[in-house]
Amino acid sequence: MGRVLVWYGELTTASSLARRGLLLLLPGLLWLLVFLVIPGLLLIPLSFAERGPFGEVVWTFSLENYRRLLGFGVLGFSLDNLMALLRTLWVALVTTFICVLLAYPIAFYIRAQEGGRRYLLLALVIIPFWTNLVIRTYAWQLLLAPEMPLARLLAALGLVEPGMALFPSAFAVYLGMVSAFLPFMVLPLYSSVERLDQSLVEAVQDLYGGPWRAFVHGVLPQTLPGLTVGVILTFIPAMGMFVVPDLLGGAKHLLVGNLIQQAFYTMRDWPYGAALSLVLVLMTLVALRLYRRYGKEVDLA
């Protein structure tokens, strides 16, 4: 039955080919459906359910979790959650922006090197990318300790009190976030910068464009693909980060990631955690959508 065809040198029928293909796909597909796709979709109805007295899920339809998320808690209205939402967006944006600012010089510097040194420098960028995030983050706790040179220097300058650690603070969160995500930005950006056609940049300079114009009209359009991948790779995980704010931020600098972690881990309140997760995903998607639209305008310019 089915149409007879030759596929990669094999005389077969469409239906037997499809049967074999499905058989090969089935284990992996089933795994991803059971452990990722279905529970991911389940978060939607779950976010309208309620937590029972023992942490179990009571299936109802209520907007309670979303009300609570906006700050209407049992203790009255509070801005804390809304602030955490805005702070998450802001921290992710600033982190992405700082990473872009640092990644361009690194990419151009690597490009300017000879063959062997180039590989060495690329490896130097890749290694932190693969180093465990918890280790890299607690390492900042060590560097920002009061006994270390940085805190002493700032204390000597009168910027902080002597004997104070520089964490938990917003400053420490940014340090941790940027060092966590910088490799994510450099690697894709470098692949674009490597292929850059220098003559277009020189053309701008010949027309008496300054460095800013040379960048906007010469470099940016050519490196936009790499930049876009870098922005996506940085911004998405930055929005869902909880390790860095947890270890370096403290209670005053909670991000949505911390709230989700608390909901699922500490409070065992899945419905509330589901609502927070969905809001996080939604915010990320909207922000990337805006970037896409804005990015296209840059492309045309």
């Binding site: 452990f35 779950l46 151009f108 932190p128 693969w130 995030l133 280790i135």
Partner: protein
Amino acid sequence: MKISLWVRAVALGALAFLYLPMLAVALFSFNKTRYGLAWGGFTWDWYLRLFQNEAILEATRNTFLLAIISTLLATFLGTLFALGMERHPWGRRFRSFLENVLYLPVVTPDLILAAALVVALGFLRALSGLFEPGLLTMVIGHVTFQVAFVALVVGSRLRSLPRELDEAARDLYATYTQYLRRVLFPLLLPGIVAGAMLAFTLSLDDFVISFFTAGPTSQTLPLIIYASTRRGITPEIHAISTLIFLLTVLLVLSAERLTRRSA
């Protein structure tokens, strides 16, 4: 190409910024002082003590057991998936569905992935009584994000293999299993190894998924390090972190060589 002085300065500064924290950890893993950060002289003691620290030894065992089991499973599932996806004539819609399923774990923040896993495992536990938090649930969690990476790497290798080799094998009357074993598998091996190494490193590197799926008896090194940031970091933690870092360097460099040789 010439680059200006400030580009060089920012680049080198940023690279130093990436390595400064790790250097500090490595430095203090050799510090004699147990409490506080005053420099008390050089010692190997903390590295030697690792071998007597039951908790750390057990966590090391768990970390590698988890990485090996989940990598084997993910490599198997991911390779089959890539074969099914790339070597069969699917319609455009089914294919893009498959691609979306693969990209989902890659682009989802790991925290959301963890949330979905907590929910999945929780419901499965309620249904079956199995899936108690432990090594098994951690393996499930790790495989869930590893499969996609393996399938993507193996798939790209499959696409780069010329069709003529398949056709030549079939023209010489190879059966499907003969063709798989004698032709496709050897050709695909570099891609499978690259995918497996990627999966292995991802597993060693993971904290978030482990944190949400671990049980009391299945602590891994990243979990122990995280817990000790609450209880107080000891120089032993610096020592084990330095070792993990060196292992990462080794893995990255050998993977780099492997891919450059096979390219």
